[in-house]
């Protein structure tokens, strides 16, 4: 029997010990008329050979196109050692470190993870992770509402340059707690929010403002100026960051003037640090904060301590915040973290080092510049925003191209290019705009291939149109 080791002899012995005639007798407290029938809609079992064949067939159906798509999930190189070690049974098949002495591996690793996250973000404290970037933003918002005791409004400013699916997720999760999320429009020229627009929305008491860096368009926000203004007005700053990019960009703990430096809470998705794109997960959400807010932090936190002999060791700490102790008064209902992905990410950061991450991030940036230069050289393709961008850029197809974003992307797909994210649904005001992304994995040949494909797509479109007009 699959994964069941019992022999007939053992079954008989065990039933004798219990004093039951059959296994079915063990279910005699369940009303007979409620018993399940045979579950016809579930196929019969398979062996490993058969399942391997099925899964390989299914995996083959997925595209192998060259990926220039980002928008919250990025194709980065992951050292082979990362998942080899992560999937060792001792990490893979362990659970939450409830018995600390028997879980020092996971606990120490988590402490090291927290240390690396605080180093990258320049924040004081990190927890052991949340589910993903979007849900960590939701928890960061709830945390800000608890932490900003001087504010009573439960009103949060969210620029529309924050990833739309993050905003949607935050809305789902916070709406039960009377938290109001107020959109702040962005500046059409720069693709970033400016202080004047924020001030227009900041009518009265505001609890917190969310700032994504780089923002969803890949543009860099004026975080220093906005952070200073927020702090002057008793508004907490919630940073949403890409942790890989933080290796080279001013991290949230350093935002604003020295006097009241730093975002108050930083969150984001850890996927760029060792998690494959994997159709959307599992990734993990990072969540960091200033020391003063540590008791408002949701989720697990590991602390370093000593054992009876004074030897260094690690435990789950500040558990009085959590649901298994506080029940209805907990900071969140969260129970688990994304332990295994955090394991991978910690190994990833150790192998890469700060230098490796910097070089990776810089290559993403350089490649994006190369790509944008090549694509905007094509007639009909233009850069949408004037400001600085990191490794994602918004491109817009003008009338000369005669194309909708959707048709261009579909035509590129036919040529084996996953050309970017179609922005026309979330940002119709941008026209036929797409968000293109490059990581360090796209080399010059890849970029050349994209440019060539784009040229062909747009030229043939113009040709078809001309033909149509002529006809």
């Amino acid at each position: 029997m699959p994964f069941i080791p019992h022999t007939e002899t053992e079954i008989t012995q065990m039933l004798n010990t219990i004093g039951a005639d059959s296994i079915d007798d063990l279910f005699d407290e369940i009303p007979v008329h409620l018993r399940a029938a045979v579950m016809d809609a579930i196929p019969t079992g398979m062996n490993e050979m058969e399942i391997a064949r099925l899964m390989k067939q299914r995996a083959e159906l997925n595209t192998k196109a060259l990926c220039f798509l980002g928008a919250g999930s990025y194709q980065h190189h992951i050292p082979s050692a990362v998942w080899e070690i992560t999937t060792r049974g001792e990490f893979y098949s362990a659970y939450t470190p409830y018995q600390a002495e028997a879980s020092q591996g996971t606990l120490q690793l988590t402490y090291e993870f927290q240390s690396m996250m605080t180093a990258l973000t320049a924040m004081d404290v990190s927890n052991a992770s949340m589910y993903d970037g979007a849900s960590s933003l939701a928890e960061a918002i709830l945390m800000a509402v608890r932490a900003n005791r001087k504010s009573k409004s439960r009103k949060i400013l969210i620029p529309t340059t924050v990833n739309p699916v993050y905003r949607q997720t935050a809305h789902t999760i916070v709406k039960g707690q009377q938290v109001e999320l107020v959109d702040v429009p962005y500046d059409k020229a720069s693709g970033t929010v400016n202080l004047e627009q924020i001030k227009q929305q900041a009518d009265g008491d505001i609890t917190a403002i969310v700032l994504q860096q780089p923002n969803f368009f890949g543009c860099l926000e004026a975080v220093d100026e906005i952070t200073d203004w927020a702090h002057e007005n008793n508004i907490l700053v919630i940073a949403v960051v890409n942790p890989l990019v933080m290796s080279v960009i001013n991290p949230p703990g350093e935002w604003g003037a020295e006097a009241n430096k730093g975002a108050d809470i930083a969150c984001g998705d850890g996927q760029p640090l060792g998690a494959p794109m994997s159709a959307g997960g599992p990734y993990y959400g990072l969540l960091c904060c200033k020391q003063a807010y540590v008791r408002q932090m949701p989720g697990r936190i590991v602390g370093r301590t000593v054992d009876l002999d004074g030897k260094e060791g690690f435990v789950l700490t500040l558990q009085a915040r959590e649901q298994h102790i506080r029940r209805s008064k907990a900071t969140s209902n969260i129970c688990t973290n994304q332990g295994l992905v955090v394991t991978a990410s910690t190994i990833h950061m150790s192998i890469m080092g700060a230098k490796g991450l910097e070089n990776t991030a810089a290559a993403c940036f350089a490649n994006n510049n190369k790509l944008v230069e090549k694509l905007t050289a094509i007639d009909g393709v233009n850069k949408c925003f004037s400001g600085s961008h990191f490794h994602e850029t918004v491109l817009v197809f003008d009338e000369k191209s005669g194309q909708s974003a959707a048709t261009v992307l579909a035509a590129l797909m036919d040529k084996g290019i996953l050309g970017g994210f179609n922005l026309s649904q979330d940002y119709p005001e941008l026209g036929n705009a797409i968000l293109v992304c490059t990581t360090e994995m796209r080399n010059d040949d890849d970029i050349e291939a994209y440019a060539k494909a784009m040229k062909e797509v747009l030229t043939s479109a113009v040709k078809n149109e001309t033909l149509a007009e002529t006809a």
Binding site: T63, A94, T343
Partner: protein, 481 residues
């Protein structure tokens, strides 16, 4: 030793990134990072050795019997891992057009259908990323259902006092107040108290069945009737679905909405505390409210349903599709089992638990609930040992670690003093169960004769008992050099 303490400035032996750093001079100076992040500088070998050694400091299913009650620590088949990590799945961008993502979507659609059949629900969403998020989705759907009918007065969620802490915490997160319902000594919900508690304010009842006390709720039909007649909905916490898989389905018991912990029942790895999956299933009337995304099949093609398709959905819970890698592992596991294997899960999990319970009784332990069948888990209370020998359930747990067994869940459920909640799962052989019971019996003997052995345990692990008070008072949450 921390990985940071292996670090030496300037060391980096890993050929894992571009050798030269490209120029960032096109970016404004004030936006650039000023000081390098203090990450460890180690060679690849140093990192590999450090983390391999750390792994060896863990107990895990692959290395020890792990009867952690309520967590279903069953074998995680290796093929589920290797096949979920095929390049076609790992390299799939979540925003790939559906037509180019058919292999993955087919697996997800099949998984939804199999979960519907296994639980008796009308539809499933795989979006929630953990049990607690599944609970959130479930309770948010209950809220959305009542509000869609203009029934705005239902502000209270009922939760038995034996429930997991996530239940009341979730209800509060969704904006409800919580009322606890007492449990009888025999483990069933106090039906009279429930009847007293329900009213026009009742939004629903969250119930785990079998309960956290390790027994099947015999009055489930009566409970469903009381809740439904009061206009409330019945929520099934799937924490203990392993006990009844293929034997009785939550949908047939009258539940309106459920979450299933795929990392328990369907054997995806616990990974040191996640990622999990808390897929949610609903009866027909709650279908419009399911969280997105959901996969549908139209003319032999699969696609994600969007907010346009499902205007009444409670919305998104994550940026993309929950935890797809976890969902794939659950899917592969279910295909291994097939319909005949599902029933066997419940049968042998229950056989193992009842066998251990019978052995515990023979060996002189006190059961929390005597004279009833165990489900897939059961509870020993050590209150007599605590009274007679001044040893605690925690001492027993720590001594078990010395003897090479992961401890059962301790001090949960909160209703039973000095308790061990023991869940062997179906994948353990009789030999492992006997070994564990021998160890438990030995510790009981030691408690009487040499209690200092228990107090001082563990002695054979990387560390002795840790100072948790110091950890909470002198907070050291990150290495600062």
């Amino acid at each position: 030793m921390l990985i940071f303490e292996h670090s030496s400035e300037g060391r980096n032996g890993a050929p894992q990134s571009p050798v030269e750093k490209a120029s960032l001079s096109a970016l404004p100076e004030n936006l650039l990072r000023k000081t390098q992040a203090a990450l460890p500088e180690v060679s690849e070998l140093q990192a590999v050795r450090h983390f391999t050694r750390l792994s060896q400091k863990n107990f895990s299913i692959d290395t020890e019997f792990y009867p952690l009650g309520s967590c279903t620590m069953k074998y995680n088949p290796r093929a589920c891992n290797s096949l979920a990590m095929l390049p076609g799945f790992l390299n799939a961008h979540p925003l790939t057009p559906d037509e180019q993502n058919q292999g993955f979507l087919a697996c997800m659609h099949d998984l939804q259908s199999m979960l519907c059949e296994a639980t008796g629900m009308a539809a499933f969403s795989l979006a929630p990323m953990a049990g607690a998020q599944g609970e959130f989705a479930g309770v948010a759907m209950i809220d959305a259902y009542h509000k869609s009918r203009g029934d705005d007065q239902r502000k209270e969620i009922l939760v038995p006092d034996a429930a997991h802490g996530t239940n009341p915490a979730t209800a509060v997160m969704c904006g409800f107040s919580v009322k606890e319902i007492p449990t009888l000594d025999n483990g069933d919900v106090d039906l009279d108290a429930l009847k007293q508690a329900v009213g026009p304010q009742t939004a629903g009842l969250m119930l785990t069945n079998p309960s956290t006390l390790g027994v099947f709720e015999r009055n489930i039909e009566a409970i469903a009737k009381v809740i439904h007649e009061a206009g409330g909905l019945l929520y099934y916490d799937g924490a203990n679905l392993n006990a009844i898989l293929g034997k009785i389905r939550p949908g047939d018991m009258g539940f309106d909405v459920i979450h299933s912990n795929l990392h328990k029942t369907f054997s995806t790895p616990h990974g040191g505390g996640g990622p999990g999956s808390g897929a949610v299933g609903v009866a027909e009337r709650l279908k419009p409210f399911l969280p997105l995304p959901v996969v549908t099949k139209e003319n032999e093609n699969y696609r994600y349903l969007t907010a346009q398709d499902c205007p009444e959905s409670i919305g998104r819970l994550s940026a993309f599709m929950g935890n797809p890698g976890v969902l794939l592992r659950a899917y592969i596991y279910m295909r291994f089992l097939g319909r005949e294997g599902m029933v066997r899960v419940a049968e042998f999990a229950t056989l193992n638990a009842n066998y251990m319970m019978a052995e515990a009784k023979t060996r002189g332990f006190t059961l929390a609930i005597d004279s009833r069948r165990a489900s897939h888990e059961f509870i020993i209370t050590l209150k007599n040992e605590a009274r007679d020998y001044h040893v605690s359930a925690m001492d027993f747990a720590k001594r078990l670690l010395d003897l090479g067994y992961h401890a059962p869940t301790t001090y949960f459920p909160l209703l039973v003093p000095e308790c061990l909640l023991i869940e062997p799962t179906e994948s353990e052989a009789k030999e492992a169960l006997d070994g564990f019971m021998d160890a438990l019996e030995q510790i009981k003997k030691e408690a009487k004769e040499t209690p200092e052995l228990l107090h001082a345990a563990p002695q054979t692990l990387p560390v002795k008992r840790l100072d948790e008070v110091r950890a909470a008072k002198q907070l050291d949450l990150a290495y600062k050099g």
